[in-house]
Amino acid sequence: MFCHLDAPANAISVCRDATQVVVAGRNIFKIYGLEEEGFVERLNLRVGRKPSLNFSCADVMWHQMEENLLATAATNGAVVTWNLARPCRNKQEQLFTEHKRTVNKVCFHPTEVNMLLSGSQDGFMKCFDLRKKESVSTFSGQSESVRDVQFSIKDYFTFAASFENGNVQLWDIRRPDRYERMFTAHTGPVFCCDWHPEDRGWLATGGRDKMVKVWDMSTNRVKEIYCVQTIASVARVKWRPERRYHLATCSMMVDHNIYVWDVRRPFIPFATFEEHKDVTTGIVWRNQHDPYYLLSGSKDSTLYQHMFKDASRPVDRANPEGLCFGLFGDLAFAAKESLMTAPQSVGDVGRKTYPGGDRRYPIFFFKKPDVTEQFAQVSSALSVFESEAGSGVGMDWFINTAQSYLLSGKPFAELCEHNAQVAKRLNRPQESTTWTMLRIMFSEPANPSLSTNHNLNKSGNLPLVNSFSMKEMSAALNERNKENRQDNLHSLETNLNNNDENEETEGSEGQAEYLFGDAELDDDDLYSMEHDNQAAEEPEYLLPQEAFPLRHEIMDHPSAPEPVQEKPESPHVSGSETESTCLTPMESFSLISVSQLLFSPHLPPKFFCPIVKEMLCYYAEQGDVQMAVSVLIVLGDRIRKEIDELTQEHWYMSYIDLLQRFELWNVSNEVIKLSTCGAIMCLNQASTTLHINCSNCKRPMSNKGWICDRCHQCASVCAVCHHVVKGLFVWCQGCSHGGHLEHVMEWLKQSKHCPAGCGHLCEYT
């Protein structure tokens, strides 16, 4: 249940019997009754036409013994007590204006009726006896502002104070001259502290450093026993009644939720209340013996009562899963047992499962469920996937490929050619073919002819064949046109597409073969049939779409080159060496080669981009990011714009990561250098720190800059101009003097001697 307040609240407090709550803020000071159906406003303590700053409260506390007594800390430095039993409208009883700065906290003694403690921004804590007009004792923290003061619940004389500089002090109320104990609890201000209601020595502190720490004060040395890392600075901390390990926190900034933590489980909050729309400024458990009701006030001008059963439990939403690689390539995977009960699929080779909590295996650290611990018990099952010895193919191919691929430094066509051969040598025909195809697709218009020449030269051992094909060219074309009904429907380009697709599908050559009725097509009959049917059904089919299913099918048969060698109808007109070895039935061969030669030059390389893009994605998804990146680099501008930056970056990162794992530093560096993504290129700039020693005192230069900390001299000064050298420093190996490259060069043109005047005859080569 909740109610709207008129103004943001700074603090709230409940009376002992948990029937009323007081809300205080800059512009609000009201008492609400806690009824079954909701909050009911009982009393407005903010009276007067123009209330003074004494009403602007930073903190409020309801006396736990005397139900009519309240105290507030005003932002102007006043400490005010209020007596609800006063008959008039103004309930103000006493006003202490001894603090010079804002009072951050007031605290009544838990058992002593008339004792009140305050802590202020001015660094002082004051103890008031309500029967007297002024403070009875003043405690000086000797450090910065006091953020919180809390009387110990069990020790009558002790109180704790937390400070803006990170310290926590323990005081004896009888000894105002000196603190009993002091320790540094946090970096930055400690905003709050709270004594454990049962455990005598436990103090919880929360600070701007986003930590909640639990300290054990009962020992000689103050010991940090628990630490919870939250996501924002901690404004309040309150132990939960009746639950030894639970505490509630709310934050000062940014985060509006209230968390209840089990300090033994510091990673996920035990429960969360998410109602507030602005920062929560005050939290209080409704009753000292009831752990189920929490009240909270907030800057969003609302007052809430939270029921514990309504809290959201982040644990329920968390996934208790883990994944880890072993030294020898084993993979361990732990997940909720319920998720792991699914029957093992066929692919799970070498999988060993360890059911949750199975103690036969010594690797298990099995935590005994604690009855008092109200935490959701999750039991996970662990599976270990062991890599099979022997079947572990290893990654030799990867290393070899990475080392032998050429990515730059030669014309495009040669790079492709080279890489195709590398792939072929490593028995990776698919990649090899891809490279070849890329060369065909993206070579400049001039290149095909060049490669044809090349081809001619290569197949020079078959001069007859070639000349024959040349002669047959036009005839074959005509013939084709006549015979092929389809072609009439197709524009020139689609015609080309066919060709192109044939290239793509690498040897299937469906159309042509089918039409020419080659008998040797047994292997590929299926393809050609499909092909033709499809073509007939949709005469203006778009090739890229169709090419893919086919491609993929072929990809599944890594033995693709074998058909190439067996089959005479190699499509590699301008292609690899396979061609020179094959004996080609003249018709088919000439046809293909003709069309390639005739039309290829007209086809803009851009045309292939979608296909190539898909191809790259395919490789990347198959896990062969090496291929994707290599192609990307070799193609360079031809393809770069087609693929979005993030994907490219992702590929590069994966590849570089792999390369580095295999310690292929040179290759990875080359890849980084050749990449075009800004994010990748700057990898080369990272960790380029060189540690240098001072040239004077020969001790390491500890900090940045050009001046040695120890001898206060400029290090690395140019011997010629006596300026600090920032950049290239050249020095003589004989006398170890040197300086700016340019200066030394100039100097040594004119003089043979060392510019430092040491008399050494330096040489510059």
């Binding site: 800059r26 700053l53 602007s56 930073a58 005003a74 932002t75 102007n76 603090h99 804002t102 921004q121 803006e164 930055g188 201000p189 905003f191 701007r208 924002a232 600075s233 000062m252 900034m253 940014v254 509006h256 729309k277 969003d300 060189l690 240098i692 020693n693 001072c694 040239s695 004077n696 940045k704 800059g705 050009w706 001046i707 900390d709 206060h712 001299q713 400029c714 290090a715 690395s716 000064v717 140019c718 011997a719 101009c721 006596h722 300026h723 600090v724 050298v725 920032k726 950049g727 290239l728 420093f729 020095w731 003097h737 040197g738 300086g739 700016h740 490259l741 340019e742 200066h743 430092a756």
Partner: protein
């Protein structure tokens, strides 16, 4: 190429050593001079701002660290953006000194010289920043959630929250630095602006030439030729004269006069090259709505603009957490600066210090519940009040000040101290307003 200098047994410039011995007087001065020397060696020049601050070495250290962090270290904004934002901020107060300083650095980090022609030549994203720049500089209490919202509204030219926070920190830093520059009179000490010769590649810098780490063609006039007139280049031998200067500034005022004289001759010398030097020297090209300036935070409008209550939004509790979350580590650096300035030894009572600080915040509409503003009138003499107000609100040398600066401190270091207080209080005020607006944006 190896940069290691392990085995080099250098006999340093004798001058340097000479000064060395001279300066090792006491640890305080030593610390200051070491800092200055580091700054000099790092940046090739020691700006007069650092020289002034050298009278408070522990503060100078944290100041330089912050400045270095926001201008050069990790952060969401690219380097040239940072300098351009600094230019924009300094131009609001017509601070030629900072504008030309950052123009030079803007070019050095590879910024487009075209942008320096004026705000309209800059990308739209930076121009969007102009409004919040204007408001923060003169009437920070106008900063509202809507400004933040407008900048963060998704679109092609939008800012990310992290970028915006860095930009805001940068703006506040430069605005308040303008106050310091104005207060300490360093503005007259105009450094020569980067000369953009035709044919000289942008980004070319004389310092680089001195370093010998440039592969570019030599400048039309060799650096040595200009050296006598220019302030120090990147040289260790000139450390000597600078050290002297530091000492001078640490000593008393009579030197200041000479210094001013010196700078006047500098100015005079620069006049000859004016047509060259005017490039980017005129800050007004980076300013829109030049009429917009400081107005009294009027009491009568109080219901309109709520007084900012520190008790509701303070640096320690709120500002720090937010800024540190969105721009990591800056909170600690700024915190250190505020702490350092608060702990500077002050010859007078700490009350006076608090009065100055609160008075500046009061000028900007920030009030402390726990402070009796009658104290301000009791502790601050009229001359000092006017001085503070002029430095904080009208740090614009191009306009005639509203009143003559009649406050004459006994000691130079005292003036520097007051200037530091003004700068830091103003920085905090602007940050508080900007961060509160961001908080409101995040809550909504």
């Amino acid at each position: 190429m190896i940069i290691c200098t392990k085995n080099m047994d250098y006999r340093l410039g004798t001058q340097c050593q000479f000064v060395q011995n001279q300066v090792m007087v006491n640890s305080e001065k030593d610390r200051a001079s070491l800092l200055c020397m580091k700054a000099l060696a790092n940046r090739g020049r020691l700006d007069s701002v650092s020289q002034q601050m050298a009278s408070h070495p522990q503060y100078l250290e944290s100041f330089l660290r912050t400045q270095h962090y926001i201008l050069y270290m990790d952060g969401p904004l690219p380097l040239h953006y940072r300098h351009y934002i600094a230019i924009m901020a300094a131009a609001r107060h017509h601070c030629r000194y900072l504008v030309s300083l950052h123009s030079a650095q803007f070019l050095r980090v590879g910024g487009d010289p075209l942008w320096l022609q004026g705000l309209e030549a800059a990308p739209l994203r930076l121009r969007h920043l102009d409004h919040i720049n204007k408001v923060l500089a003169h009437q920070p209490w106008l900063t509202a959630r809507s400004h933040i919202q407008a900048l963060l509204k998704t679109g092609e030219q939008c800012w990310s929250l992290a970028e915006l926070v860095q930009a805001v920190v940068l703006l506040a830093h430069c605005h308040s630095l303008c106050s310091f520059v104005f207060g300490s009179g360093s503005d007259s000490d105009t450094i020569p602006t980067p000369r953009v010769h035709h044919g000289t590649p942008p980004g070319y810098c004389l310092c680089d030439a001195a370093n010998g780490n440039t592969a570019l063609s030599p400048p039309p006039a060799g650096p040595t030729e200009k050296a006598p007139r220019r302030r120090s280049l990147d040289s260790s031998c000139e450390v000597a004269c600078l050290r002297e200067q530091i000492q001078k500034s640490q000593e008393e005022i009579k030197e200041r006069k000479a210094d001013r004289l010196h700078s006047q001759t500098l100015l005079h010398a620069d006049v000859e090259e004016e047509d060259e030097a005017t490039f980017s020297a005129d800050p007004s090209r980076f300013v829109t709505d030049p009429e917009f300036g400081y107005q009294e935070f009027a009491r009568r409008e109080e219901d309109h603009f709520q007084v900012f209550r520190v008790q509701d939004y303070s640096w320690e509790d709120h500002g720090f957490s937010l800024v540190n979350r969105l721009y990591s580590d800056i909170g600690h650096l700024l915190d250190e600066r505020f702490r350092n300035v608060a702990s500077l030894p002050f010859p007078h009572s700490p009350d006076l210090k608090r009065a100055i600080w609160n008075y500046i915040h009061c000028i900007y509409g920030i009030r402390y519940d726990d402070y009796d503003y009658g104290e301000v009138n009791r502790l601050l003499e009229r001359g000092l009040k006017l001085y503070i107000k002029a430095v904080a609100c009208y740090p614009d040398a191009s306009k005639t000040p509203l009143c003559p600066l009649s406050w004459a401190p006994v000691k130079a270091s005292e003036k520097v101290h007051v200037n530091l207080l003004v700068m830091e209080a103003r920085l905090q005020a602007e940050l508080l307003y900007a961060l509160r607006a961001i908080t409101q944006y995040m809550i909504a």
